[in-house]
Amino acid sequence: APAAPGGDGDGSGFGGALGTPEQEEAFAELYDAALAAGENQVVAYGPPPARALLDAFHARFPGIELNYQQLQTAERIAKLEQEKQTGNHVADIASDGRTPIVSMAVDGWCQQLDPIMDLPEEWTGPDSRAYFPYVSIFGLVVNTDLIDPEDAPQSWEELVSPEWKGDVVMVSPAAGGAAAFTFAMMQTPEENAEKYEGIMEGIKENVSLVARDALVLQEVAQGTYPVGALAYYPYYVETAAQGAPIEFVFPFTEGGGNMWTKSGNCLIENAPNPNAGRLWMEWLLSIEGQTVLAESGWYPTMPGMPGPGGLPPLEEIDLLYALPDEEAITAYGPYVQEVIAFFGG
Amino acid sequence: MSSVTVRGLDKRFGEYQAIGGADLTAADGEFVTLLGESGCGKTTTLRCIAGLETPTSGHIAIGDHVVYDSARRIDVQPERRRTGMVFQSYALWPHLTVLETVLYPLRRRKVRGKEALQRARDVLATVGLERFAARPATSLSGGQQQRVALARALVSRPELMLYDEPLSNLDPSLRRQVRDEILRMHRFNGTTSIYVTHDLEEAMHLSDRIIVMQSGLLEQSGTPAEIFARPTNEFVAKFVGFENLLAATVTSVFASDIALRIPAAGVEVTLPASTATGPLAAGDEVMVAFRSANAVVVSERETGGPRLQLAGVIERVDFLGSRNEFRIVSGEASLRVAESERDYRRQQIRREAGADIWVEVDADLCSVIPTGRRAPQSAPEESAVAGAVA
């Protein structure tokens, strides 16, 4: 649980809740600078993170409010462009999946930062213009009233086999989103395409598709289907907390192909609240931030942090291979279209 | 069979009593005209018969079928009553052309194809609107619209026709022509017709029977000749054009004559008994009524023949081209006399205000109307004594 506001009382440290004393010193400086500049809010464009995170941050740094506005990539760019043209800057932070954030960093929307925490290069964007504090994973949920989690499918091949026909529910890739992206990643590069050949066809053949992520969990929790595929782990956490008889099964141990995405933030050029914005970005990498992230269902990216809910560490999982950041910006697009078209969209 | 029987018809609009217990009948094939003041309930009566208005109470039968009976909770839908109606407000459909409007009732009655077209064209020709067949009905002139409304009602030849002032906006020659056509169709199809008009001549021409209404009640019913010659009360008399009504007292009643005193004009007169429109006894208060066109203005009192002679002074003369209209003061009474062109040319008199003249009316052109019927005890009012003018 987060420490009491203001840390241990001497005003400069946080009792090791965030990191080393030097790091905490830096946090405190940033916090003071933000308050001194009257930066009492951070405006972020992107999907808001779990509430626990916001609460923890707010408790740690009172007086700074986080305002998230959920925007699609196109919308965000249009809005930022407008802010740039009018000089009326509103946004401090852009928050999104990997490729949009990388492409923003490449296009010069983001400020270069020097992370307080020792974030590995792998998780900083180009020129250190973005941080990727966590990774989201997608896996199976099973209804424990209907089947034993042990008996759940162990690989994509098994999942899409006729054996499970009618028992698996998944969000339809036809509406885009992570599902479409999963199968796009299975198409490229060539090795992936070979490795996962036939999966997409099998899905279409044997898996029931629904419109929304939330419905997958709902259907499984309700017991209409015993297995739900590509369930978003943080949602699972929330749902299980409500007492639903479900279990998360992760990872696929045979054949790999476990779906993951990394999420990032960047500090917008000319952000009106640069200190507060950066504070939020840095805090997400702090011990406290990473811990809360893990509790909320994400894999923290700082080295040495445990995975969420007792899942194995990220390094041990056979993840679906993804193209390098800068290549990914443009390479997946056509495949996503293809997947969507394949599923009738 | 499409006689009409209305009994005890009562219609209220909220508090307002539009019709109070009217009885009305029309025999099969009869042409009945309703006459009455503006707002007396003519339209409402027709609408009740048509089924467009639900009476407050009463009984209506068309032919053998009871179409409305408040006691027995019968209320037949309008389209089942097989009636046609010309609406006073035309009620033309803005979305249809003239021809479509006229074809509409035929379509509804399953007359189709050539026959329908032929009938529609005939009726349009009758009302002189053939040229306008393709125009939207509501873009026509007022009179043309009225004719469309009429054509629409006539075309389907219903057994019972209800006409609500169907010719009020037509010019006289067209009106005469269409009126004759209505009569022809009425006779030809054996339709029963109920007709509302304010034009007395039209009523005379068309009707088998005329019914005079006053504020929601039927006042008198009879053949045109009866109504026009022998109105049984003051209201009807005024309404059918007896411009001159003089209060009088019966002094004595003989076998074939009645002696009267007209106090306002200060004269005594003896009129044939046949002029009385109701039973009379000595002492009765009556009205002596005559039309302005039936009186003549002469400079010298003539003798011979029973006649009403009143000395008077010309108050005003209006020269109306084909007719002169005099207003004459005779004692306390004020009279109206119309002089035809021929009469005008026939005699030379001083036709100007202030001239002393005599007004003469042939005895049998007068009507003696019993009064005080409605309120028998009431003393004659001031205006009545003074000899009122319409």
Binding site: T86, N88, G97, A211 | -
Partner: protein
Amino acid sequence: MSAISPEWRGERLFGKILLALALVVLFVLFIWPPVMMATAAFRVGNLAGQGEWSIGPFLDTLARESTWRVSLNSIILSAASSLGALAIGTFLAWVAVRTTTPLRRWMTPAMAVILVIPSLFYGLGWYLVVNGNAAPVNILLREWFGITGSPLGSGWPIMLFVVIGFVVPVGYLFMVGPMARMDAALDDAARMSGASRGNAFFTVTLPLLRPTMFGVFVLMTSYGFSAFELPLLFGIQADINVFSTAVYTTLTAQEAVPNYAGASTLSLILMALVIALVLVRSRILGGRRFSTITGKGFRPDPKNYGRIQWLFLATFIAVVCWAGVIPLLQMILGSFQPMFGVSLGFTTANYENVLRNPRTGSLIGFTLVLAAVGGFIAASVALVMSHLATHGGGLLRAVTGTVSWAPVAIPGVLVGLALITAYLPIPGLRNLIGTPLMLLLGFIVVVTPIATRAVEGGVLQISSELEESARISGASRYVTFFTVVVPLVLPSFLAGWFIAGIGIAGNLSLPVLLSSPTMQTVAVQAYDSYRQGYASEAAALFLLLMLAVAVVGAVASAAVWGGARLLKRIRISRIERAITMKGSAAYV
């Protein structure tokens, strides 16, 4: 022989300048965004309508088979559902105002409340009724026929059923105003010509409403193209994808760089459809107006149709259940569940969470004010434009016609983007972006076509002679407008205001783009919550909004109704006093 007075000439010049100015404003606000969107189909850049010219994405998009498939699906879905909803809505409107069916006075309020249900929860509500093992429909099927699974859970029939149910209240509210203003004599004349009740309805009543019905049909069909949530919920399992999903996925599929050109190309299809429909409509109507409010014996009284009215009532109740009660009950139920639609017991935590949030109150307040003000202005703009269109020459009619249709050609998913990219280069507007004022402006642009459809029918019904008699009585054009046109068109105006207001309250894309992050509406907030997995909380928030709308609506209509009655009483008694008591009590 005095020439025309200089004062008069001045007015004319001033009027012309004013007109020119108005035309420019209208062009920038209403026509520029769709034009920009159309050109964006041929440009590749990081902002819609900017960057390099290229015909590539355009050709690519059109070459895709799926483009045409989803368009066809959408055409079928939107045309069929608009037709169905319009038919049912028109019929119910007729029942409500032209018959003496019991409870008819409750029909409009009921439909108004139903209209407030957001499509998301309407859809989820029905989804839960027909999908899953616990769904009532499936339980019945299992018990009675032994059919398992969710055979009725998706596919065309259920999709049409659900979509029609969703738009029935819209159809109803569009039609009820014009329906109320029909001279009963027109109907009477049909009955006297031998038409039965049904006959008269189909041959006179309906054709007279053609101008309104065609307009509403075109509008509903176009908006059917923006249907997102419902086709997604009920179509995707059956592989039925629709246009709006395609626009969305085209725009976002590339992830990093939005594919504006592809999305704009798709929207050209909608634009073509709208243009075609509008042309067909004006062809069929040929600029005719069917005046049903005349100055001669105009009596719009309802009629008693006998016992069949009980059938009407039953139909009404069935429709209310279909369109309102069932999804609403699910929504209420869901708002008390820890997880929406999953039976894990009940909790008030969702309400507590929502109420604990200090911003909930201002959120609801802001939404209500925005909807009320925006709806009012849109309805007013619609009224003025419709009135001008019926009176002005061909040019004015063309301009107002275009203005009232142009925004419809932008797919709902793109509306926000289209407006922001169109207004961005325009000096005055650019600075407004991000302020509530801009949001209001954007909403007015977006909902004016809706309000216009509701209002124009009412305006077309007023016989021009009623205005003429006012002019002859010495009233200027403006005074005539306020003393004759406005009172007569009021039912349609109120309907337009309400529908436009609901359109504003339910819009998701404009507040996000045109306003600041702290100025949001309930719909945006609720939808965000839903997307984060807090569906129950979203339901709770929306129910609170509905409650607020109902309370405000009830209070307002009670006030209006009571006020109107009072006013009428005062009017009548004043008149009576004025007439009876000699020379006393001035009538003001």
